[in-house]
């Protein structure tokens, strides 16, 4: 089997560590975790989110500052999945306290997932969670379509029904206005006027990774 990913083996082994789970038995594990490992998905997303300079560290800091509501400690604001045991529709209805569930769809997949945007305090956390949820799928898809593709661009539909790139507005505004999220194939997202055009982002990601 042709291996398009440099370092795919190590990538796959680390998969479990970086997976969004409910934690090893008896322990509550937080979904913010060590990020040193290069992964196509977040890198491209970081590139999309960053300003014109496009440096990963800077964009990280910028995003954290935008999440003005909390300090950097990951455990503080993050909530457990499914606890307390209330149906999502009920939690959503009590928006002021509670939650904001939006559907996440991936182009080309029948899989839908729901995330509670209130569970995250920054784009970075949200994207990490999405990556964890869909990563396995993107690996498989990768083998089916052998390109250099880190193809998936996160987009969202806002209150007005417009499709926007995730990351274009400050986090808090995003949380208020996001109705649903769609991970679009890069080529389709071109029409959404990102700050960094997706084609370039893909190439930058490929270059960085092979470097």
């Amino acid at each position: 089997m042709v291996n398009h990913f440099p370092g795919f083996e190590t990538f796959a082994m680390d998969f479990k560590e970086t997976e969004l789970t409910l934690g090893p038995p008896g322990e509550f594990r937080v979904s913010g975790r060590k990020s040193g490992k290069k992964r196509g998905f977040p890198e491209m997303l970081d590139l999309n989110l960053s300003g014109p300079n496009g440096r990963r560290n800077d964009s990280g800091a910028q995003l954290e500052q935008e999440a003005s509501s909390s300090p950097k400690s990951p455990a503080a604001k993050e909530q457990l999945v499914g606890w307390p045991p209330l149906r999502a529709s009920r939690k959503n209805a009590m928006r002021s306290g509670g939650s904001n569930y939006v559907k996440v769809a991936v182009d080309g997949a029948p899989y839908l997932r729901k995330v509670d945007l209130q569970m995250y305090i920054s784009y970075e956390q949200l994207l990490k969670a999405l990556e964890d949820m869909f990563c396995y799928f993107t690996i498989r898809n990768y083998f089916m379509e052998p390109m250099n593709g880190y193809e998936y661009v996160p987009t969202y539909e806002d209150k007005d029904g417009d499709w926007m790139m995730v990351g274009d507005v400050p986090w808090k505004i995003f949380v208020e206005s996001c109705k649903r999220i769609r991970l679009m194939k890069g080529s389709e997202a071109a029409g959404l006027e990102p700050r960094t055009p997706p084609q370039n982002a893909v190439m930058e990601a490929a270059e960085e990774d092979s470097g």
Partner: protein
Amino acid sequence: MGENRAEVPGCGGDSQPPCPDQVLENVLENVLRFLTSRRDRNAVSLVCKSWYLAEALTRSELFIGNCYAVSARRATERFRRVNSVVLKGKPRFADFSLMPLIWGAHFTPWLTAFAAAYPWLEKIHLKRMSITDDDLAQISHSFPHFKELTLVCCDGFGTSGLAILASKCRQLRVLDLIEDEVEDDDVVDWLSCFPDNGTCLESLSFDCVELPINFDALERLVARSPNLKQLRLNQFVSIGQLYRLIVRAPQLTHLGTGSFSPPESWVPGEQEPDYRAAFAACSSLVYLSGFREIVPDYLPAIYPVCGNLTSLNFSYANLNAEELKAVVCHCYKLQTLWVLDTVRDEGLEAVATTCKDLTELRVFPIDAREDSEGFVSEVGLIAIAEGCRKLQSILYFCQRMTNAAVIAMSEKCHDLVVFRLCIMGRHRPDHLTNEPMDEGFGAIVMNCKKLTRLAVSGLLTDRAFGYIGKYGNSVRTLSIAFAGDSDMALKYVLEGCSNLQKLEIRDSPFGDSALRAGLHHYYNMRFLWMSSCKITLEGSREISKALPQLVVEVFRSGLAAVRDEDEFVDTLYMYRSLEGPRNDAPTHVRIL
């Protein structure tokens, strides 16, 4: 011999008396028609073969508690004269995002079988199943006498399916959509699709359909549905629109009031109709719900009906204690009350003062987070215990609780059947004594002899489960989360609770050894769910090998399948089944 055969239910000719066997069989069939309880029917079917056959022929309602426990073919072959089906699919923890969104519980294969076997089918009731728009269309085409559709916590369908159902099922009496996830991709004006010349509708519930509706169509629909008794609206109906509906339908017994607020376009000071008079005209109202975006100023409109109310659902209404008091002081016949904790202990005290017939109470949190403030406590629970002695069912979300309060409830409310206490902060002890909540829950199982459903929370040691195992003989459904110290806890439960049927556990330190302790009992259960515990893949396999008629599913959060090299299993879901592993499991669900 032939012509008169129909008159003489005998095996002989018309001149011969019927043989005793035949008579007995006919008597039996006629008697069995009156037997409605499925438990009684199951018992009857075990007596002997002819009773089994007679029972099978006379069962008119088919109840399948787990859609994977038996196949549609097997069910339809045994029961030939069914006109009403109840089907349940996913386990309850699916409601809390603990299950992959794609898992199963598809209605389609059942529908196909029903369409062939029961063309006279009148009622379908589904809970936690996936039903598509095509399925809804299929129902409309396959069952000319179809009358009632109830969907609870279902998904997979949207308004286009509803439109087909509305237009084609001319005898539709009941369309109840309760807490479903309705697709919003392609919105169709389904309310306009009901027949123009009138409907047989008796009950229409769409409070969970979070989509705008064509109000004029709804108004005309209500006007041409003279049998309508139950109407539950969604939050896109303003109070002004509600008024227009209830003046046309004063015969309503059950009303879901929609938003209970004026539309956004409303200007304060604008002339408003006499809401109070409209409600006063609804002399048959016994049930009120909705209040989805309530403006409390309008609450006095419902005072005229409070004296008749037996059920009041304020669980979406942000009311404070005063506002609740003003309503509840009139509700002396109230049996069921759902509220938000915004009413505080004080509000619950008011309930306890007036609602002496209360049998069911649910208190939901307005802020459903672990570290939220929580507005009710042991004070409210004690008040209810002392005031509402007929209480049978309670669901109580809080952040602070004491053993003393729970013990008090166990001593005062002897009729308790369902006790569900959710202390939202994990591992919280009795906030006054700092002790675990063992004694409180222990008292519940000891004192409440009718208890069949229990949900525990707070700091709990193995001791609590010792009590449950020892005294909880009547418990059929048990929910455990973040509790217990060791395998012993689960062992106590599995060895002691001989009537246990549904056990759902999350984030508790129970491992394979505890799992083995239930081998003698799993065939008597509907299911066991364990997530984020200490179960290993090997341990799960052992169970699967030991009990061949148990389907053992393992899966993890996310879309990846459980691999052989995984040591622990995220989620174990197992259930008895006559059919073996299902063939519709997605790749990320592994069946051992």
